[in-house]
């Protein structure tokens, strides 16, 4: 962790050599991130409810998911470039240092730009949370940070999982993007918007439903439209831990099968 901070700080300083570029890129990132928000606004301009959810509720789902994703992306987004490192052979230089290559890659090119993604969801949550039509019991209050942290861990595990695949199949970067970024996009809307089988897949295969949907139902005090057991609503932390274990195993297996490049 200390090493990660150190590396990130170093990259930050490297990026700070071009302050104007850093600022503009940060601004651009924040604006692109805010576009998702514009999409939601556009929908609610035509209808008061989406799939039975009010604007506040959808924004709550958006805010928690986007926040979790932005944090995971800030911390681990660099791993999507693993394939590039494998191809160029630069992973070798990371492997001869006494620090996990995962930390080195994750921290690589750490820029404040990634953090700019945090701004729109943070603003949305600040506005929406006090307006949600729910009774704030201690359980619900506690659930908000719990779901955010679980969401971060789930997204982070997905980053690591998709990176692990790149040890073996180098050219999968675009495909993995559809899982990481696609997953982030999907979870911004109520799951009832999607087909039933698809939601089951998101619950039990790639457990994106646990980022914000299941715990969100708990906070919003809603019955599950798909009729899944209520216990699932509290399962996010367990799912996060489980998925992390799977990701760690995959990463280690990937590293073992790493073949390096010629000379």
């Amino acid at each position: 962790m200390r090493t990660y901070g150190l590396l990130a700080w170093t990259w930050l300083r490297a990026a700070a050599q071009y302050p104007a570029s850093m600022l503009l890129l940060g601004l651009a990132t924040a604006m692109v991130a805010a576009l998702d928000l514009a999409g939601i606004a556009l929908l609610f301009a035509h209808t008061p409810r989406i799939a039975g959810f009010t604007a506040e509720e959808v924004l709550f789902l958006y805010g928690t998911s986007a926040m979790s994703f932005a944090i995971a992306d800030t911390l681990l987004g660099g791993t999507e470039r693993l394939g590039e490192h494998v191809r160029r052979g630069t992973l070798d230089t990371m492997l001869v240092r006494p620090v996990s290559p995962l930390i080195q890659i994750a921290a690589e090119e750490f820029t404040p730009r990634r953090m700019a993604k945090l701004l729109p969801p943070a603003a949305v949550l600040a506005v929406v949370l006090p307006r949600l039509p729910v009774e704030w019991t201690p359980g619900r209050i506690a659930m908000v940070p719990v779901m955010l942290v679980s969401g971060v861990v789930i997204f982070a595990a997905i980053w690591v999982l998709t990176a692990s695949v790149q040890f073996v199949v180098i050219e999968v970067h675009p495909a993995t993007k559809s899982i990481t970024y696609g997953g982030a996009f999907l979870t911004q809307y109520p799951m009832t918007l999607y087909a039933r089988e698809f939601v089951r897949g998101m619950t039990f295969v790639i457990p994106l439903a646990f980022v914000n949907w299941q715990p969100g139902l708990y906070v919003l005090d809603r019955p599950d439209p798909l009729g899944l057991p209520e216990a699932l609503r509290l399962a996010s932390p367990a799912v996060a831990v489980l998925l992390s274990a799977v990701a760690a195993t995959a990463w280690r297996a990937g590293l073992r099968h790493y073949r390096s490049t010629g000379s």
Partner: protein, 318 residues
């Protein structure tokens, strides 16, 4: 320091677009050797002979398919991170430094990564700065350094944690004559004064001649030779070359058992087979010609290696 026992590494290579065929390539095929503390070993081989694969197994980057490897008392594949603290690695073709940072900051970061004590670090850095003459460009971002400067920076980075073993993969590749000399001189001192064990792969036979007492040659995944440089020269019975400057230009000299390799004005290159007394040849020559100057050249390693390849059939009819 290094112990390699019957190590193999096989890669499966897929070929063909539609019908994928899998072929097994044996990059390293049963290699064994031991490197003792304080040795300076050159590791030679043509492209694709298995040099880099061996180095990668020694540093824990690749896991051997079979056989055992022990480096600095550790199994590299299992204890890669622990091993990294005990060895220094330099890849000639890629830098371990941070592109946008000044060299000094890169080295400070390395101190943190290796958890070197700050006082110890300052002492080492001072010493390395002096030996490698880093002073003039410590504050320059790495991307602005020349290749020679960058290589010196990389050497410093690999040695800041005072590893007892240094592994170099093509450290002089692409360097100009002056930088090469600096790097070689530094490695020589490091080995002699600090007793650092050094294993170096290279294409540049000059590196080997200048630095290594012991040479290992790998060919198609197998060790073709392991021993000292002198014995390599004699064992492949490479001929010595007698370079004679005659007083005036002459047709190729006629001496029993001596072939003339080249004639350039008054200078002639005579091939003296192993086992023939060079002094006798010179004496016979002096009786019949007026000689201005004379020099006897030991076969250079290039020739020796080519011969070795030829006898082991590596290059067929070259």
């Amino acid at each position: 320091m290094i112990e390699v026992r019957d190590v193999r590494k096989t890669f499966t290579v897929r070929s063909g677009r539609l019908r994928r065929r899998r072929t097994m390539v044996r990059a390293v095929d049963g290699v064994s050797f031991t490197v003792r503390e304080g040795e300076f070993v050159g590791y030679l081989g043509s492209n694709g002979a298995g040099k880099s694969t061996t180095i990668k197994m020694l540093t824990g980057i690749l896991t051997p398919t079979s056989g055992s490897v022990r480096v600095a008392g550790l199994d590299p594949a299992r204890r890669r991170t622990a091993l990294a603290r005990r060895i220094g690695v330099v890849f000639g073709q890629r830098t371990t430094l941070w592109w946008d940072l000044p060299l000094r900051d890169s080295l400070t970061l390395i101190r943190h990564l290796y958890r070197v004590d700050p006082v110890e670090h300052r002492r080492r850095l001072e010493e390395l700065t002096e030996l490698l003459d880093l002073g003039p460009f410590l504050g320059t971002p790495v991307r602005q350094l020349s290749l020679g400067q960058r290589m010196r920076g990389d050497l410093a980075a690999a040695l800041l944690h005072a590893p007892p073993l240094l592994v170099l993969d093509e450290p002089t590749i692409g360097l100009d004559v002056v930088s090469k000399a600096t790097v070689r001189g530094f490695l020589e001192r490091l080995n002699a004064e600090h007793g650092t064990t050094i294993l170096l792969t290279t294409h540049d036979l000059g590196d080997i001649e200048r630095l290594c007492r012991r040479v290992m040659i790998i060919d198609r995944g197998r060790l073709a030779y392991d021993g000292d440089l002198e014995r390599l020269r004699t064992s492949v019975a490479a001929d010595r070359m007698l370079v004679v400057d005659l007083a005036r230009p002459a047709p190729p000299v006629q001496l029993d058992g001596i072939g003339v390799e080249r004639v350039d004005g008054p200078r002639q290159w005579l091939r003296v087979p192993r086992g023939m007394n060079a002094a006798a040849v010179v004496a016979a020559l002096a009786r019949r010609y007026e000689i201005a100057d004379i020099a006897l050249r030991e076969p250079d390693i290039e020739e020796v290696v080519t011969r070795l390849y030829r006898t082991s059939g590596a290059f067929g009819a070259e």
